[in-house]
């Protein structure tokens, strides 16, 4: 198991190199440059060239790439933002933490909202208890997150005056943004849980458990649910990754200083150091989330655990 975890963690290194390479490449082939973005369209080309040189933007592509990796690995230096001249790490890290908090709470909420009705609708298939929640989930899954955000702003900020409409200073500031990002994936989690449960309920081992006289509760919770959870966990893990990147909607709407909105804002200025550091941190997080998902499989499913402990030998 440890060997597997270490192997997966080592996989982070080529991931970082690859992400950095792709971002460098994309930034290099897209038109525009940071100096032009900073100085404006009317600035003389000589001034633009001088500033690009000062920023190190005019270096050859590969030289820029290797310099960046060298500084990051040897000096743990992500450079300085072209736009603010502040240390990239000092800018990115606090916003990264905000987004991680937002995404984690969002995933927790979406699981809490989505999994129980998913189980219930599977157990009560073809009844009204299945039809109504399924139709509601269908509609919710089709509505974009920003519509929920606006609705909540309208109701809880504007009409009821209960919650602040922007910022990220108190726990109250996070209520609407987390719900905004949690509800659409909750509907997906519910539909996923339902289909997974339906598949599990029809398996032979469930029929055997029933034949052996196990109570319905034991059959559902112990035999069906544990098996049905594996694909749901994958879905939840993936949605965490998606939320880290996709929280930008809530970040923009509620003026939350997160990593997504930072990257989007800085793309306008071709603020390469910020975009690179932000994307690398997101990819690291995504890789770790996927590792945790895999480890959770082992925790839930003894067959997978046995594979890890025997090194995959039967």
């Amino acid at each position: 198991m440890y060997r597997y975890v270490i192997k997966r963690l080592l996989f982070l290194i080529p991931t970082i190199f690859g992400v950095a390479f792709i971002i460098f490449l994309v930034m290099n082939i897209t038109p525009g440059d940071p100096a032009r973005a900073l100085l404006g369209l009317s600035a003389p080309q000589a001034d633009v060239d001088a500033l690009n040189h000062e920023l190190g933007y005019d270096l050859p592509f590969m030289q820029k790439y290797f310099n960046y990796l060298k500084n990051m690995i040897i000096h743990q230096d992500f450079g300085k933002s072209y736009y603010t001249k502040q240390s990239v790490f000092d800018e990115v890290w606090p916003r990264y933490i905000v987004t991680i908090k937002l995404a984690l709470v969002g995933v927790l909420l979406s699981s809490l909202i989505g999994i129980p009705p998913g189980i219930y609708t599977a157990v009560k298939q073809y009844s009204l208890w299945d039809t109504i929640p399924s139709v509601i989930a269908f509609f919710i899954a089709a509505i974009p997150a920003f519509v929920f955000g606006l609705l909540m702003l309208f109701i809880f900020s504007l009409k009821l005056n209960w919650l602040p409409s922007f910022g990220a200073t108190t726990i109250y500031h996070f209520i609407m943004p987390t719900l905004t990002i949690a509800i659409p994936p909750a509907a997906q989690v519910m539909r996923f849980t339902k289909s997974s449960m339906l598949e599990a309920i029809r398996q032979d081992y469930v029929r055997t458990a029933r034949a052996k006289g196990a109570s319905e509760r034991t059959v559902i919770w112990k035999h069906a649910l544990l098996n049905a959870l594996l694909p749901v966990i994958t879905q939840v893990g993936l949605s965490l990754g998606v939320l880290i990147c996709g929280a930008v909607v809530a970040e923009k709407m509620f003026s939350i200083p997160g990593i997504g909105s930072l990257i989007v804002d800085r793309i306008l200025f071709k603020d390469e150091p910020i975009i690179l550091a932000g994307t690398i941190l997101i990819s690291i997080c995504f890789t770790i989330v996927m590792l945790v998902v895999d480890m959770t499989y082992a925790f839930i499913d003894p067959r997978i655990r046995a594979k890890y402990t025997t090194g995959g030998k039967e």
Binding site: P44, D47, V48, S255
Partner: protein
């Protein structure tokens, strides 16, 4: 008994006054900034949204009062111009101190201008300055390399910072709070992502401001800003979208104003466009297009009828040298338009290609493009509409890769700004290329007039030059000013903002009621 009553009353009044004072002390005025402020060094961007914030912290030799005809002396007590208009001797006002307590000296002004001159962002403001020297503690001498009458804009834009504070903070200057300005507020907390908090500078040379604490919060989404204002989370809200105006009026009562802005929406025509056998090279077709435009329709569609139809390059009530008459204005006249088309050889109408613009598809430029399309169709002129990202469209406009376009120009406080649109040496906003081998226009005269306007400080002479210049531009039927979009401003019930202005408001002039 009487004495006791009086004593009680006095105590009551004192207590009320103290409470009111304490309340004012604690009250926080929250304002929105639509873009994060990258630095506390004013030199780091020229973005208007950021400049509004810096205007609370820093001051220039000149100030800007859009409610009362533009520039006024701020840190400059007196400005003397030499006969050859190459030397400006500026005497500084007395009693000004930086927020760190240091008195402002001429050396600080020299230091600030020399910093700005090294910053390529400000070349357009400082390239005419040959030298800046301190004659004594209170006098600064500017030597120019050529006469430059629009220097007032430079005196307004370049802000004065404390040499000691900037030098002491070194590389960290701009990234951490400082007390380097002479303005009424200094920053106590700063975060690029979320905004900043400011305290009143009690030693401010005009007297301590009434509002003691302010906070700028970054809210880039307009809908979110509207809700925040309605939810009483914002105390002052400017640049309000007109689509939300009625909603804002409902919640702010009488505390709102629609002010004529100095931003103008233009229609531009590329007379060099090869579309339809260079149909736009035909002066009569261009004139027909101008006469077909109903600016009232544009006003209604773009600004709910609350804008002001434009005929000038910039409003003369803000810019003294802006011509008010003596040029063609092309009033709406469909019949005249059809006649001109017939004379041009297109009695059955003509296709002029695409009306290109940028920004949001629901934005004012896109809406105006659709109105233009409908107006032109009435006269028998057909055109497509294309709306794309600014980053894609603006280079195309400057490269004359379009047929008809909608663009805007704003932030102009001196008529010399027209240079960017009509002079061949302009690197930006040269949307209509007047100077060309096949140009039918007297571009040499246009450029002469731009230079002549710069070379004299005499307002009457400048007005004369600019009237002739604007007359040539309007005769060319290539650039039609259509609408001054109004700027919506609203403020909290507890706040008194005096006479609202469209751009450079000063919180120091605000008061709690």
């Amino acid at each position: 008994m009487k004495r006791l009553l009086i004593t009680l009353m006095v105590l009551l009044v004192a207590l009320t006054a103290c409470t009111a004072f304490a309340a004012n002390e604690e009250k926080l005025l929250v304002l929105r900034t639509e873009r994060s402020v990258p630095s506390l060094d004013w030199e780091q961007t020229t973005n208007t949204s950021n400049m509004k914030v810096w205007h609370q912290i820093f001051e220039g030799l000149y100030g800007m009062d859009e409610a009362n005809n533009g520039y006024y002396n701020e840190l400059a007590k007196e400005v003397k111009i030499s006969e050859d208009q190459l030397t400006y001797t500026v005497t500084l006002i007395d009693g000004v101190t930086f927020q760190n307590g240091d008195p402002m000296k001429a050396s600080d002004v020299v230091f600030s201008y020399n910093r700005a001159r090294k910053n390529s962002r400000f070349n357009y403001l400082t390239s005419m300055i040959e030298d800046v020297k301190a004659a004594d503690d209170k006098t600064v001498v500017f030597t120019l390399n050529k006469p430059y009458s629009p220097i007032a804009h430079t005196f307004f834009c370049v802000k004065i910072a404390s040499e000691r504070e900037v030098t002491e903070q070194g590389d960290r200057y701009g990234t951490i709070p400082h007390k380097a300005g002479t303005g009424a507020y200094y920053v106590t907390e700063f975060d690029v992502a979320t905004g900043m908090k400011m305290d009143a500078y009690e030693g401010y040379w005009r007297g301590a401001p009434n509002i003691k604490k302010i906070q700028y919060v970054v809210i880039d989404d307009l809908s979110a800003a509207v809700i925040a204002f309605k939810n009483n989370e914002l105390g002052y809200f400017e640049d309000i979208p007109l689509s939300e105006w009625d909603f804002i009026v409902e919640s702010s009562g009488t505390n709102n104003a629609l002010i004529k802005g100095n931003n103008i929406l233009f229609m531009g025509i590329n007379y060099l466009s090869p579309t339809n056998n260079n149909v736009l090279g035909n002066a009569k077709v261009r004139e027909a297009m101008f006469y077909a435009i109903n600016k009232n329709d544009i006003n209604i569609a773009v600004s709910n009828g609350k804008g002001v139809e434009a005929t000038q390059y910039m409003p003369s009530d803000i810019v003294a040298t802006s011509p008010v008459s003596g040029f063609k204005t092309y009033g709406y006249n469909v019949e005249r338009s059809k006649e001109l088309l017939k004379e041009a050889g297109y009695p059955d109408g003509v296709d002029v290609g695409t009306i290109l613009t940028y920004g949001a598809t629901s934005g004012s430029k896109a809406i105006m493009a659709q109105v233009l399309q409908a107006n032109l169709a009435e006269a028998g002129i057909t055109a497509q509409v294309s709306v794309m990202e600014a980053a894609v469209v603006t280079p195309r406009l400057y490269a004359q890769d379009y047929d008809v376009c909608v663009f805007s120009d704003y932030g102009n406080y001196d008529f010399n700004n027209i240079r960017q649109q009509v002079h061949s040496e302009s690197t930006g906003m040269y949307v209509v290329r007047y100077k060309d081998d096949s140009s039918p226009f007297n571009w040499q005269r246009i450029e002469e007039l731009v230079d002549a306007g710069v070379n004299t400080a005499d307002t009457a002479k400048r007005l004369e030059h600019y009237t002739e210049l604007w007359g040539i531009v309007m005769d060319s039927a290539t650039m039609l000013p259509c609408l001054h979009e109004p700027v919506g401003v609203a403020w909290a019930q507890a706040l008194d903002v005096g006479k609202p202005v469209p751009t450079y408001y000063k919180v120091r002039t605000f008061k709690w009621k």
